[in-house]
């Protein structure tokens, strides 16, 4: 039996109560202390969302300390190759909790029934204070309280190191401390679990001073790499449930087609296949994968759809956006960097630039097409096995589709191919279709999209264009800068299968939609040239292209992709600033430094200048050449602030004017995240972002005709290959006095495009203000 001593206490907005268990006779209360999550026992609609999930108000839901001194941590965020949950999160907890990194033996991530919070990878470091950090800080206080009581030493005389609390000559390990104990500490949380942003731990528990960090800052290994390399990791693609059927979809002929008639399956060839139809959604299931692949192809050939030609096509995209898209319904946004009055300066006789910059549709293009396994039980409970960035949001979307509550939906998350933001609002494709098919056949169903579907039926990073006007005064200073950004709604979180099937989803993007799914174009690229006196930045939004015209309400669906929105705004700005420097006859890095006031902006620019061996001079280079078949060389720079981190990059290129082919020869990137959490991992992330960013800059454009996306494989949507990579140099600026750590992966993607475009100008004297910088677009500009 146990004797319970309840002692409520208030600490840092947290409520603590303790129960001490004693052993009597044979009844040993096994001491897994700081364990014992409870589901919220409430029947309110809000609380229902938490069912099947751990109680987020209990630190035990986040962190378990075991009697053997090992520690388990949980997060609703899942890994997409950043390694954050397996490196940074363990390092953060190790330091806040004063335990060795190696003591954190288990990381539970993503599963909605086993993790307390939601949200996505974009929120990994939560502006320096991720949920897991606060949960660890609360837990640490609880450990000290327990130790104080156990050792009879006042809390303020205790300190902890490597999982042992000591003070006044006494000490006890965390394992011994928690053995036979059960601690219940209630911590404050806010937010909505199944929204894109999930829950946030509130309150202000004391945090470890940066000077006492011993684990953060070390190049510790990513623990998920080993099992992946030896083929022991369970990928989402490996999930096989008893009785599971394989499925392939027969998606509509166009992004606006409705079903006329379902074709007849050739049962002599495909005797075990079965066709499922729900609204305009057609799928085929079979016991074996090869049969269902062939059966779906045969069925696709004989299924009839209405025709639809409601898109402008790639060639007319920017004309359409400029002249036909309706920019009047969404309110124009203004940046908080606005100051002075640009109008009189822009209308006076200064050296001026007036230009438009065009940003292509780009695909997330995961190396493996999206897939999911769904198991809809007879009682309506749904188990969904997939690779997802925001499993809690997916859970909410599936519940909405089925007209049920989230407690009936459990999402299990596995490793999978990175998809760079595509599912940060809950779905990547295939998940909802697997549920629909599983419900129809009463068996587990595995939906695997094929390569073409993954390019043609998924979302993309939105196209955009920006108008810039700027003026240089007689001293060569940027006297006025004005930019107007135009971008269709950047995020459509409706599950596509549900839309095609006519099942309930959230609305298509509209002005009133919540946050990122609204048509309002917010300004997301922080202005860094704070010495400029007259600045105006505006955002103009509209509906997705084809969204209103498509009978399916589909059109070209957009979605966040690495630095979403900010890439579309930073590319025109940074290229325009390089052009402004050229107009002023100034060096592009020095010009930036001369217009900056923030120490970290100057620091990151100086670092990239030194590391790249940049020679200070104006662009274009002497003897710049836009003709001939010999490569000409140039260099450019770019700058970005994102998620607490400053980034600057220098690209050195060789361009062959006669062919328009650009080769990036050297790429130097400087990163100041404040505290560098894990140098080796940050370097790998920066290298990866650099390569993907060069790929986006040089090659990437989702091509569409009047009916839909026509990019369908790696030849029609090419990405960078190994032979195309430059020498890459990463400079990490550890800057602890900043007092926090910034995010460390996605921004590198955005830096290459404006730096390469500036390098093209440097080499040739010609400016291409359109992405991608592919020969078909480069050549005409060089010839002009």
């Amino acid at each position: 039996m146990s004797i319970s001593i309840e002692k409520p206490a208030n600490a840092y907005q947290a409520t603590l109560s303790r129960r001490q268990f004693v052993k009597t006779g044979g009844a040993l209360v096994v001491g897994v202390s700081l364990v014992g999550a409870e589901l919220l026992k409430s029947t309110s609609a809000k609380a229902a969302a938490f069912m099947n999930s751990l109680d987020p108000t209990l630190p035990t839901s986040w962190i378990e300390i075991h009697p053997d001194n090992t520690v388990l941590i949980r997060t609703g965020k899942s890994d997409f190759g950043q390694g954050t949950t397996f490196t940074a999160y363990r390092q953060i907890v190790a330091d806040e909790l004063s335990v060795p990194f190696e003591a954190i033996t288990t990381v539970v991530a993503g599963d909605t029934d086993r993790t307390p919070d939601g949200s996505g990878a974009f929120d990994f470091l939560g502006r320096g204070t991720p949920n897991i950090r606060k949960a660890a800080a609360y837990t640490y206080q609880a450990v000290l309280d327990l130790a104080s009581e156990r050792l009879g030493v006042p809390k303020d005389k205790l300190s902890a190191k490597d999982g042992v609390v000591s003070g006044d000559g006494k000490s006890i390990s965390y394992g011994d401390l928690v053995k036979d104990q059960q601690l219940k500490l209630t911590i404050p949380v806010s937010g909505d679990l199944t929204s894109i942003f999930g829950l946030r731990v509130e309150g202000n528990p004391p945090m470890k001073p940066i000077s006492e960090y011993t684990v953060i800052g070390k190049s510790l290994p990513n623990s998920v790499i080993h099992p992946k390399v030896i083929a022991k990791e369970t990928w989402a693609t490996d999930v096989r449930l008893p009785g599971m059927l394989h499925a392939r979809m027969v998606h509509p002929k166009t992004l606006g087609s409705t079903l006329v008639s379902v074709g007849k399956l050739d049962k002599t060839k495909f005797p075990n296949s079965q066709v499922i139809v729900k609204g305009n959604l057609v799928g085929v299931v079979a016991p074996t994968e090869w049969e269902v692949i062939q059966a779906s192809q045969q069925l696709a050939g004989v299924t009839k759809w209405t025709d639809w030609k409601g898109l402008p096509g790639s060639a007319k995209l920017y004309d359409y956006l400029r002249k036909e898209a309706d920019w009047t319904t969404a309110p124009v946004t203004k940046s908080n960097a606005a100051k002075g009055d640009v109008a009189p300066i822009l209308s006076s006789p200064h050296k001026k630039l007036s230009a438009t910059y065009q940003f292509s549709y780009m695909k997330h293009a995961p190396i493996g097409p999206t897939m999911a396994v769904a198991d809809v039980k007879p009682d309506g409970t749904v188990h969904l096995h997939t690779h997802n960035q925001n499993p809690q949001a997916l859970r909410g979307e599936i519940a909405m589709m089925l007209g049920t509550t989230p407690d009936h939906v459990i999402v299990h998350t596995y490793a999978g191919p990175g998809h760079y933001g595509r599912s940060n609002g809950g779905n990547a494709g295939a998940e909802d279709e697997a549920v629909i098919l599983s419900q129809a056949v009463g068996k587990p169903v595995r939906v695997q999209w094929m390569r073409a579907e993954d390019l043609q039926w998924s979302t993309q990073s939105s196209a955009a264009f920006s108008d810039v006007e700027l003026a240089i005064d007689e001293k060569g200073k940027l006297a006025a800068y004005q930019i107007d950004h135009y971008m269709p709604a950047m995020q459509d979180d409706r599950p596509i299968g549900a839309v095609i099937a006519g099942l309930p989803t959230m609305p298509a993007p509209q002005v009133e939609s919540k946050s990122v799914t609204s048509t309002v174009n917010g300004l997301s690229d922080p202005w860094l040239y704070t010495a400029v006196s007259n600045v105006a930045e505006h955002g103009h939004g509209t509906f997705q292209v084809g969204q209103k015209a498509s009978p399916l309400a589909v059109g070209i669906r957009d979605h966040s992709m690495r630095t979403p929105g900010q890439f579309q705004q930073n590319y025109p700005r940074e290229l325009a600033i390089s052009e402004a420097a050229a107009l002023a006859g100034a060096d592009a890095i020095q010009f930036r430094i001369d217009h900056a006031t923030e120490e970290r902006v100057v620091g990151v620019l100086n670092a990239v200048r030194d590391a790249s061996g940049w020679d200070t001079r104006p662009s274009p280079r002497p003897n710049a050449l836009s003709t001939g078949s010999k490569p000409v060389r140039g260099r450019g720079v770019s700058l970005m602030f994102r998620s607490g981190t400053y980034w600057a990059c220098v690209c050195e290129i060789a361009v062959t004017p006669s062919t328009g082919v650009i080769a990036v020869e050297k790429y130097t990137i400087a990163v100041d995240p404040g505290i560098v959490m894990n140098p080796a991992q940050l370097k790998r992330q920066a290298e990866g972002g650099a390569v993907m960013g060069i790929s986006q800059a040089l090659l990437e454009e989702a091509i569409f005709d009047e009916s839909g996306i026509v990019s369908r494989d790696w030849y029609t949507y090419p990405i960078l290959k190994m032979s195309d990579i430059p020498e890459i140099k990463v400079v990490l600026l550890h800057n602890p006095k900043v007092g926090s750590y910034g995010g460390g992966s996605e921004a590198a993607n955005a830096l290459a495009a404006p730096a390469i475009a500036a390098a093209l100008h440097d080499a040739t004297g010609k400016v291409l203000r359109r992405l991608p910088l592919k020969p078909a677009y480069v050549q005409p500009v060089l010839k002009a």
Partner: protein, 174 residues
């Protein structure tokens, strides 16, 4: 029925003759190394070694590889142990130097393409024990039916790992 030899073990396969080897490996033999990336021999995620040559399993009908030696990611340690003549006891905890290098260099980002990258690295290093940077780039770009594609951009980490694996192999492992 087709008989194939996978990682040194003969298997009888009931799947139709034209079934791509990838689905046989993944679904019939429950191997998780080779991944479905494109089904078009355009990316390399599904690669295996067949008689030592990097092959795209997604477009290779199972009947065409009857009685040939197929090595998947799972079979790399045994392949190395056999090449080095390691005892069963020695082989137990031994990884292929390529795998060891991939871990020590912290190469994978999402890791989905890395099966094919490690397979190609193994094939390369078996024929060229000390490849130059240009030879590494050539092997991963032009040696097969298509370049080996990595979407996360881990190419520099792959190059580091291939060089590191060459050093480990030159030392005979470890």
């Amino acid at each position: 029925m087709v008989k194939i030899i996978v990682n040194g073990i003969q298997r009888e396969i009931q799947a139709p003759d034209d079934t791509p080897l990838l689905y046989v490996l993944r679904n019939d033999l429950q191997l998780s190394g080779p991944q479905f990336g494109c089904g078009l021999a355009q990316c390399g995620a599904c690669s295996v070694l067949i008689d030592g040559k990097e092959t795209r399993s997604c477009v290779t009908p199972v009947s065409t590889v009857a009685n040939q030696e197929i090595t998947t990611l799972e079979g790399l340690p045994a392949r190395w142990a056999k090449q080095k003549g390691l005892s069963a006891e020695e082989a137990k905890d031994t990884l292929h130097p390529v795998q060891q290098a991939w871990i020590e260099e912290q190469t994978p980002l999402c890791g989905f393409c890395q099966n094919g990258m490690m397979i190609t690295a193994t094939g390369l290093l078996e024929s060229n024990s000390n490849p130059t940077l240009a030879q590494i780039k050539e092997a991963f770009t032009n040696s097969g039916p298509s370049p080996h594609l990595c979407r996360c951009g881990s190419y520099t980490a792959i190059i580091d790992a291939v060089k590191h694996a060459a050093v480990i192999m030159a030392k005979g492992g470890k």
